[in-house]
Symmetry: C2
């Protein structure tokens, strides 16, 4: 539903609350998607929230709850009785419960665990134990498990019996008694098959899966490559421990992309939507990187100071410093950002370093030559430099653009190779190296070409 | 399948081709997912490709084909007879056919259209006519349509009859005779219902949909918000014209994120994976932005030249220029990138401008104060400046960080408001404004505080 429509609905609900017309509120609730209800909950006055929430059907309430901000979730849980909490936890999918527990203060998390049934509690604890960003940490344990000796009719009976509690029924997993994954069957296969067909004759045995410790961006890539609706997650012994569904994969894809973008811009990623994040936490996510980059500029300052003498002789040289550093930074940034994104999409792997280097070298020569030519005439016509200074600018442009692109493409690959996230580490390091490089080249060329500098 | 496993398989297939053991190649093919086959096709020697491709089952071949690079697709189409092409087009989904046609040279595209059956051809032409990046351009026309007077049993009969040709059978759409969309039913609803239930009693009538001209990033947001497997696309008269399936939504999400990242780094986005893009086209995607930013540095050069006199008196001022411009650029970049991403995710809309401004103002004051304090002591201790120069640096840092963040957050919103894509326009403009701003503030503060400059 569009934002404006929801605003109107919210106004209407606020009015109905004033009038005490709960019947009409209930009627509106019954028409809405859980996500839209969660948006309205965020707007609602705090005192009305518990009542509004209690008017929802149990399953809708649970889905609406899992879409709320953690502040609202905490507030509602604190207002719930143990019985209410238990009933809602029964409706929630395990992966959503885990996401919520991770954001709650310790006492609320403990209360949630205490009110989960023992089997679910064990599953929650298991998922909580997988490393952050792993397939294990985003999976759910609610999938339909079939036996290969079942008939299609048996399978339908099982799906009808357990289906409503499962996160998806459209992909069913065939396991042995020790939970080893041996095949998958889709609901489509089942619907198109004769009722007495055996699952073993119907199932696909070449199963694409993820392992519990696999990075979640690799899980997203599998969804994008294969177009699945769910992906099984297995442990080291090939035993099925959970599944990731495609709706969670989309959320991971969007979150990961936002994280990449933020880290490239020197921001520590947060899970919160922009307007929900506090001023202090936004400051905390930004200031360390600004500080780091500012301190690393000590190098560039020192290089300039070392050539103080030369600069005071020919002050026009100073006028080109921002342009040269800027162009080098932009050229290097293009390469590093391209490679970081390609690494994170799996389009390139560290083993491709030579192919990457060879390509960037050729691109950088083309870029370097084009910029050097334009830069030469710009220096003479727009900046009023003489031919000698324009020559210095031109040569520096060429050399720094090539060097920056090479540095920009190699660094992310090396950082990935030694096991760190290129998006985090690459940016400040590359900036510092390229800035220093641009200045050193500039002054070296200048002192070499211009007599008596 | 992992990259290493596929490499091994490819080696094995190359060997089998040498030995002429086509039986074993066929056996390997039958075990593989279409996506994995497409990866192998990319590696295969060109002369072996048509034979390898012909060994696949018809439906697998079509899906494999839609995953190939456009170079390979073109090569294969040129080798196909009209009969072969016709057979493959029958197997392809309409949205995949459209994607392929868009990349083909005119004569190949014309041959593809000529070999499509008339109904499909009309649908292809319709989708080709929707604007780039719209919901209409990414939808497919192959969905299951039900009538509200059908029973669940009738619905199953229809699904079994038409299901294999549809892109999904898990969400079915209920329309009136004029194609007006009146409801949706999921396969799960159908499976859990009694056979004689009427569709009109089962269907959800509050349907979340997209319109044909809606931006595709808004389509992705709906998938993420509501967790659907497919989303109906309707025209202005609420008539159902197609659906977008979740697997396409994931690809759009990943592509859009890559586009955002590339545009923020000053690169014209391309569809091609990094290693597939040619050197010349990579150069073409990068050099205009480098050129533009280099030319825009004419302003900063001019500002520095205007203060040539002052700088030659106190050369240490020059040493701080890169640090001040860099910090301002980083501070502004953090804000603009955050807002651009939030706009593209739909977390904020232009109407939120005042809330954004108020938040950035507070964050920028915090950042400005922290950086100014650290910058002051850095100037004295690390850069050997005197107190007066350090004071100038400190005040400039504060003022430029605040100004840059305000500029950085407002510009993307304004650009969005007037209907352009903030990711394209914002970056070079913001950089130029912030660079100039930093220098002007710096020299203004310096000439005001330092006597006889």
């Amino acid at each position: 539903m569009e934002k404006e429509q929801l605003e109107e609905l919210y106004e209407r609900i606020a009015e109905l609350f004033e009038e005490g017309d709960y019947q009409s509120i209930r009627a509106i609730i019954s028409e809405l998607e859980p996500f839209d209800l969660s948006v309205i909950c965020e707007e609602l006055e705090e005192k009305r929230l518990p009542l509004f929430f209690r008017m929802m059907a149990k399953d809708v309430a649970a889905e609406c709850f899992s879409n709320m901000s953690s502040e609202l979730q905490e507030l509602l849980i604190r207002k719930m009785s143990d019985t209410e909490l238990k009933a809602m936890l029964d409706e929630l999918f395990v992966d959503d419960t885990v996401d919520i527990i991770e954001e709650m203060p310790a006492n609320v998390a403990a209360r949630m665990l205490a009110n989960s049934d023992p089997v679910t509690r064990a599953q929650i604890n298991q998922i909580l134990n997988y490393p952050k960003d792993s397939a294990g940490s985003i999976m759910t344990t609610e999938y339909v498990r079939l036996d290969k000796n079942m008939s299609v009719m048996d399978a339908f009976t099982r799906i009808r019996r357990v289906g409503t509690e499962k996160e998806t029924i459209y992909t069913c997993y065939v396991t042995q008694s020790d939970r080893t994954l041996v095949g998958v069957v889709t609901a489509m296969d089942l619907m198109l098959a004769e009722p007495d067909t055996l699952i073993s004759d119907l199932m696909e045995t070449n199963v694409i899966f993820s392992t519990t410790d696999e990075d979640k961006s690799s899980v997203v890539k599998k969804f994008s490559d294969y177009g699945f609706l769910a992906l099984p997650v297995v442990d080291k012994d090939n035993r099925l421990v959970g599944i990731v569904t495609v709706d969670d994969a989309i959320d991971v894809a969007l979150d990961e992309a936002t994280e990449d973008v933020e880290m490239m811009a020197g921001i520590t990623p947060t899970d919160k939507p922009y307007l929900k994040a506090g001023v202090f936490s936004t400051w905390l996510a930004r200031v360390p990187w600004l500080m780091l980059l500012m301190l690393s500029a000590t190098f560039t300052g020192a290089i300039i100071s070392a050539y103080e003498e030369a600069l005071s002789h020919l002050v026009i040289l100073t006028a080109f410093i921002p342009m040269l550093m800027g162009t080098a930074g932009n050229a290097g940034g293009q390469s590093s950002v391209t490679i970081i994104r390609a690494l994170s999409l799996g389009d390139v792997v560290p083993g491709d370093i030579l192919r990457i280097l060879w390509k960037e070298l050729r691109v950088s020569l083309l870029c370097g030559v084009s910029l050097a030519i334009v830069g030469f005439f710009k220096a003479i016509w727009l900046d009023g430099a003489d031919t000698l200074v324009a020559m210095v600018v031109c040569l520096t442009l060429f050399a720094t653009v090539v060097a920056s692109k090479v540095v920009g493409c190699c660094f992310p690959v090396l950082i990935k190779k030694i096991g760190f996230d290129p998006a985090v580490v690459a940016s400040p390091f590359i900036t510092t190296v390229i800035d220093a490089l641009a200045l050193v080249v500039y002054f070296a060329v200048a002192t070499a070409l211009i007599p008596n500098l």
